[in-house]
């Protein structure tokens, strides 16, 4: 691989987007500084495909605080410490901190063996404990009661002698809310590095034994078939079947909103009510899945915004009536996974190697439920609960004139929200008007303008000098970053009608492309189109029942688009770098999910 010719701009060379030169709303520690030009950074577009509103930077701050803590301080991973992040023109760039000194690696390895060994040896017990901790955290968030600052305190403050007025709770409870997010991210990484470690160890062995094996095939051997992340979509399918069985399917008319469908059902007889009861039951917990992947405040969950699940159910009901099977071929997928594993195992040259294969694959199957299922609790359920609780604080501030709209709270960093709440707490105490209503609205308006300007910017996929060794397995698996990928990314999108990414799910199809930049647009996808998106989230699953193939800008073989596409047996190419920039809705494209090549075959009909 010739890598010398690859160059990316240095972090300090990136010019601010025109008109945003004076923008100052990210924490100082996320700004480009001394030494950054000597390091290699890449744009984490998989998790942060949009410019960051100030509040949402917590979704970078919290995970890197936790990931690094586990790698560096808790488990003492021998060869890599944590990840630094910088926010440049609203985009999150990250850089890992490797360990090179052999003596240091040796010292860390001793500790790592002891500590990670303890986790692996006690995996089931610790994982059960993890579930308890996470459920307790969910209860804690739900219990946060945003103080409403009455004119006079409740009499109980006097009769119980509590000694604390409501304005104290205002700041305290917001801090509890922020801490819940930080804590969730701590739990998130408790097992993750070890889980990925098990995968990567197996992958490395497979690549030695079978130099030409695809990551896709290895991923298929590792992956479970029934994961929690598939449940919400399965629930929609069950509800669609129930609607037909109960004879209330006529309510599910294409074009109707969720509210119209619900109102229609409520006006009907007992069987409709049985459906509504089943619907309410499915909502908790399964509708706590995010329509995004929990990294932005506007990634609402299905309970907040019923339009996605209902538009999916309208389609599913139509499918049921046409006699189309909605069930995923779970049994077939399970058998196929067993067959593939057994045949690769049989190809190994010795009993010793077959024993190693069994050990490593067994370990992958031990960690798989955590690696997949934590996403439902963490990025989906807890993250959306956190943003919703923050919204309540926003609503309180808006009522007191700080903002025109509760949503504006997300234009403030969480430390600024603390300040605004202190302002409100003080003014409530003094009886004078708060200062916030003069201070914040112009700032909010300016930041919205800046974010809009950032959204027009095309972030370079990477910055700084490329290291000689880019073989970091974690980057490869999750982000699809390889030397080859970087080379292709470093070429500006030009005339070529070919895009290269990772073949994530095998097969070749041609079809009409539909470019979808955010989750709000996914209901516009029509049957048989090819989804082209920056990155897909688990809750997009319903759309996979409609599309012919999927293409994403960002993602590796274990990314969600890849896992879901394989579940649905659709060709997928992930990690193309800039498919959403190069492909236009309406173009005929060919997706080769085996070789990872997407070809634009014809221009979109001009409209």
């Amino acid at each position: 691989m010739e890598t010398k010719s690859i160059t990316f701009p240095l972090p300090s060379e990136v010019e601010p987007v025109a008109g945003t030169e004076n923008a100052q709303f990210y924490p100082y520690f996320t700004k480009v500084g001394k030494g950054d030009d000597e390091r290699f950074w890449f744009y984490n577009g998989m998790h942060f495909p949009e410019p960051m509103p100030a509040f949402d930077t917590i979704t970078a701050e919290a995970p890197y605080m936790s990931l690094g803590a586990y790698n560096t301080r808790v488990f003492a991973v021998p060869t890599v410490l944590g990840i630094d992040h910088r926010i440049i023109n609203g985009r999150v760039y990250i850089s890992a901190v490797p360990v090179f000194d052999p003596a240091e690696i040796e010292r860390r390895l001793a500790l790592f063996q002891e500590r990670a060994g303890y986790y692996f040896s006690n995996w089931d017990r610790l994982y059960a404990q993890w579930s308890e901790k996470v459920n307790a955290l969910l209860a804690d968030i739900a219990a946060i009661d945003v103080p409403q600052l009455p004119e006079f305190e409740d009499a109980s403050v006097v009769t119980d002698g509590t000694g604390i007025a409501q304005n104290f709770y205002l700041v305290e409870r917001f801090h509890t809310c922020v801490e819940s997010m930080l804590k969730m991210w701590q739990y998130h990484f408790e097992f993750l590095v070890l889980g990925y470690g098990a995968y990567l160890t197996f992958f490395e062995f497979c690549k030695k034994a079978f130099p030409e094996i695809s990551v896709q095939t290895m991923a298929r051997m590792v992956a479970g078939v029934d994961t929690l992340m598939m449940r919400p979509d399965d629930e929609l399918k069950k509800l669609a079947h129930l609607a037909v069985e109960n004879g209330v399917d006529s309510a599910f008319v294409s074009g109707r909103s969720a509210n119209e469908i619900l109102a229609d059902l409520k006006s009907r007889n007992g069987k409709a009510h049985a459906w509504l009861d089943a619907f309410e039951k499915a909502r908790e917990p399964w509708f706590n899945i995010s329509t995004g992947d929990g990294f932005y405040h506007h990634h609402r969950n299905w309970n907040d915004d019923l339009s996605l699940p209902f538009s999916a159910m309208v389609d599913y009901v139509a499918d049921v009536k046409r006699g189309k099977s909605l069930s995923r071929p779970t049994e077939r997928l399970k058998e196929e996974r067993l067959r593939i594993s057994a045949e690769y195992r049989a190809l190994l040259p010795s009993d010793d190697e077959r024993a190693v294969f069994d050990q490593m694959l067994g370990l992958c199957h031990l960690v798989f439920p955590y690696v997949e299922d934590h996403k439902f609790y963490c990025e989906n359920w807890i993250a959306t609960a956190f943003f919703n609780k923050s919204r309540e604080f926003g609503a309180l501030l808006a009522r007191h004139g700080f903002f025109a709209d509760a949503e504006d709270v997300f234009q403030l960093h969480h430390t600024e929200v603390s300040l605004a709440l202190s302002d409100l707490a003080l003014s409530w105490a003094s009886g004078s008007p708060p200062r916030g209503p003069e201070h914040w609205p112009p700032i909010v308006a300016e930041r919205k303008r800046v974010l809009a300007a950032y959204a027009e910017w095309t972030p370079p996929p990477a910055l700084g000098p490329m290291p000689a060794d880019i073989s970091d397995p974690l980057l490869l698996m999750l982000w699809g970053i390889t030397a080859e990928q970087l080379t292709s990314w470093s070429q500006p999108p030009g005339d070529s009608n070919e895009l290269r990414g990772f073949g994530a799910s095998a097969g070749v199809v041609e079809g009409i492309a539909h470019v979808v930049r955010s989750v709000d647009e996914i209901s516009t996808i029509k049957d048989g189109e090819i989804l082209v998106c920056p990155v897909t989230a688990p809750s997009w699953a319903p759309v996979f029942g409609k599309i012919k193939a999927a293409v994403s800008d960002i993602g590796g073989a274990m990314s969600h688009a890849a896992i879901v596409a394989r579940e649905y047996g659709l060709p997928a190419v992930v990690g193309t770098g800039h498919a959403t920039k190069r492909i236009v809705t309406g173009q005929l494209v060919r997706v080769d999910g085996t070789s990872g090549i997407v070809t634009i075959l014809s221009e979109a009909p001009s409209s």
Binding site: P78, I105, A116, F210, S214, I340, E353, Q359, M360, L363
Partner: protein
């Protein structure tokens, strides 16, 4: 079809032989018989045995086959062409040397003896047989044996006479990667016409790399195939011709043919229990025939060497101990 009387010493049909008959019919003939036993589609044929060679062969390239044997070969040829009377037949056959020490210890011996394609008619078959025999005494073969210290008297050969496949495309298939030795893939090289262009390196063939286990075609490389070997219009023999311009960059195999080849490759490998180097042809009606299969030698040799040293990895006390080795070793 069965040889009768003492003919069976000199002529054996594919159905009568297997891999253990190498000494009497040569490596190629034995392998073709064995493949038919395994249920693989091999064009039907017979072998003129090593005994016949010892009894009748002349070292002289110009010599003809003695009448006694020529008559038996002519009868077998007519049977092979489906004719049970004495009518003149001229169905095309391949006449191929099958040396008793060929395809054995040293694969490079393959190709030192002659093969004649599109041979038509009794006389032409007898002529090709004589030329095959004589090829055991050409300069290359003699110096090759001298190098290996094999005496000329010890050398013998069977000669295969086999129905010709009218190849639309043909080529070679390895049941492990020729580049990396990966046993989980099948590599197919394919070009238009007879496989001789691929074996002889006269074209850059299309290449298909397929995952053995999943059947997924991992890489397809379609090359410009400028020439092909085809039968002479006049009758016997073959000639080189230009592939029509618009056909040159067309794929030689479609997905169905690739999948079928992989299936056959896996079956042969399973039958022999080791990786194979296979010659195949696809006829105009889409049927695939196997023309030869022998053990892959390069990588299996390296495997044996590696096995003597150490396994790739050894099982550990605890499964997660592997993770420690992985994280403890930074590649530099």
């Amino acid at each position: 079809m069965s040889a009768s009387g003492r003919e069976s010493e000199f002529l054996l049909w594919f159905d009568e032989i297997g891999i253990d008959d190498r000494a009497s019919v040569g490596g190629k003939g034995a392998s073709l018989g064995e493949l038919r036993r395994a249920g693989i589609d091999v064009p039907p044929g017979f072998v003129v045995t090593a005994s016949a060679f010892r009894r009748f062969a002349s070292r002289d390239a110009g010599a003809s086959v003695p009448a006694e044997l020529a008559e038996a070969v002519a009868r077998a040829y007519r049977t092979l062409c489906g004719s049970d009377d004495s009518a003149v037949v001229d169905e095309p056959v391949a006449v191929r040397s099958s040396a008793t020490d060929e395809d054995g210890a040293d694969a490079s011996f393959a190709g030192l003896q002659d093969t004649y394609l599109w041979v038509r008619g009794e006389a032409a078959v007898a002529g090709a047989l004589a030329r095959c025999w004589a090829s055991l005494y050409n300069d290359e073969a003699i110096s090759y044996r001298a190098r290996l210290g094999i005496s000329d008297d010890a050398a013998a050969m069977g000669v295969v006479v086999q129905r010709m496949v009218n190849a639309h495309a043909a080529g070679v298939m390895f049941t492990r990667s020729p580049l990396t030795g990966d046993p989980s893939v099948i590599a197919i090289s394919s070009s238009f016409g007879l496989g001789s262009t691929v074996v002889g390196g006269e074209v850059t063939p299309d290449e298909f790399l397929v995952d053995k286990v999943t059947g997924v075609v991992r890489r397809t490389t379609i090359s410009r195939k400028e020439i092909r070997h085809v039968p002479n219009e006049s009758g016997s023999g073959t000639r080189e011709e230009a592939v029509p311009e618009d056909l040159q960059t067309q794929p030689t195999l479609d997905a169905t043919a690739v999948a079928r080849l992989v299936e056959i490759g896996r079956a042969i490998e399973k039958h022999y229990g080791c990786a194979q180097d296979i010659e195949w042809a696809l006829d105009a009606s889409g049927d695939i025939f196997i023309l030869q299969s022998r053990p892959e030698t390069v990588w299996s040799g390296r495997d044996r060497e590696n096995a003597r040293k150490a396994a790739l990895e050894s099982p550990k006390e605890k499964p997660f101990d592997h993770v420690f080795s992985f994280f403890g070793n930074r590649k530099t």
